[in-house]
């Protein structure tokens, strides 16, 4: 057991038990994630419609994306999902030090992901592969700007989710340092964990659909 005091958690007065409080939070989180799923689902429908109309554009466009960066970022996000479950597990078995280590690792992986995304975006901007009327590059297909509209919208919104996730992980780290998470209470850890895996899930589909067309 760690040297620091475990801060006890008090169940909010409108819940009958800790179990009920935890399960209510988790249900709320799942409802939110289901909404996110339908939200991203609409974007995948946009992708499918334009790919159906302009398959040759998509074939051409994916050559301007680096599958190596995409694959690297896929591995980084999978690793971050793994460190996230290990962080939650560390709290479940009262290992505060490894909880903090795993959360820090998750934060670092998230940073690496965004760093790679920054390099990719800079390259696209440099070549003029911008969405819609901002597009200024050469291309075989006259619909190439549509692909990059879809690319920036989907990866941009996904990147925004990563950014929000990073802020949440910082908040979890602060609370972990204070000893607020332990085997009897780790609800926020579990909820951010669910969110984080969802963000990983979206990328699992974005990677083959944007980078590996062929």
């Amino acid at each position: 057991m760690s040297m620091t005091l475990k801060k006890p958690h008090h169940v909010a007065h409108h819940f009958a038990s800790e179990a009920q409080e935890f399960e209510s939070a988790r249900l709320g989180m799942w409802i939110f994630l289901v909404q996110e799923l339908l939200f991203f689902g609409a974007l995948f429908v946009v992708y499918a419609i334009f790919r159906w109309w302009h398959p040759e554009t998509f074939m051409e466009a994916h050559q301007y994306l680096s599958w190596k960066w995409g694959a690297f970022n896929t591995v980084v996000l999978i690793a971050s999902s793994f460190t996230m479950v290990m962080a939650v597990r560390s709290a479940q078995v009262n290992q505060r030090k490894s909880l903090i280590s795993y959360l820090s690792l998750t934060l670092i992986f998230a940073g690496v992901f965004l760093g790679v995304k920054y390099i990719e975006y800079m390259e696209k901007i440099h070549h003029g592969f911008l969405p819609g009327s901002f597009f200024s590059a050469q291309g075989v297909s006259e619909y190439l700007h549509l692909f990059f509209g879809i690319y920036f919208t989907m990866t941009g919104l996904h990147g925004l989710h990563i950014l929000v996730g990073m802020a949440l992980i910082v908040w979890l780290l602060i609370r972990s340092f204070r000893g607020e998470f332990h085997s009897e209470y780790y609800t926020p850890l579990e909820m951010v964990g669910l969110y984080w895996h969802f963000v990983d899930l979206v990328w699992i589909f974005l990677f083959p659909l944007l980078y590996l067309i062929g």
């Binding site: 179990a19 289901v34 109309w53 597990r89 901002f134 050469q138 990677f207 590996l212 062929g214």
Partner: protein, 127 residues
């Protein structure tokens, strides 16, 4: 009802998480590796099948839906039903319209910002 503080908490063995982590890495390698082969129209299906398998592992193990027998399961799988309805209606509609969005944009004379490359002179941008 359970009132014991830890009764609703499922502690998953580390080796389960490691196994899923390794499986996800292997499947990522496979999805990249199969792009070396051309299965024609099946390329997309293979890529999506691998992605669905990966998604299943993340949802069931990392997100714990395998052990979570509560209403959360219904919420998630219910949403998949609605997603399926959404996708299938669009995928029936679009191919059967008999025209492409192209014609609409030509009617209102939208100019493409893409500077055309003469075919065959495209530089090799692939990485």
């Amino acid at each position: 009802m359970h009132d014991h503080p830890s009764s609703h908490h499922m502690i998953v063995p580390v080796k389960t998480y490691v196994a899923v982590f390794v499986s996800l890495l292997v499947l990522t390698f496979v999805t990249v590796f199969v792009t070396r082969f051309d299965f024609g129209a099946f390329n997309l299906i293979v890529a999506l099948a691998i992605a669905l398998l990966k998604a299943g592992l993340v949802v069931m193990i990392f997100m714990g839906l395998k052990w979570n027998k509560s209403f959360d399961r219904l919420a998630f799988f219910g949403s998949l039903v609605f997603l399926f309805i959404f996708f299938s209606l669009v995928f029936v509609d679009i191919p059967l319209r008999g025209y492409r969005g192209v014609e609409e944009s030509q009617q209102i004379n939208i100019k493409s910002p893409v500077k055309p490359f003469p075919k065959g002179t495209m530089p090799n941008a692939a990485h």
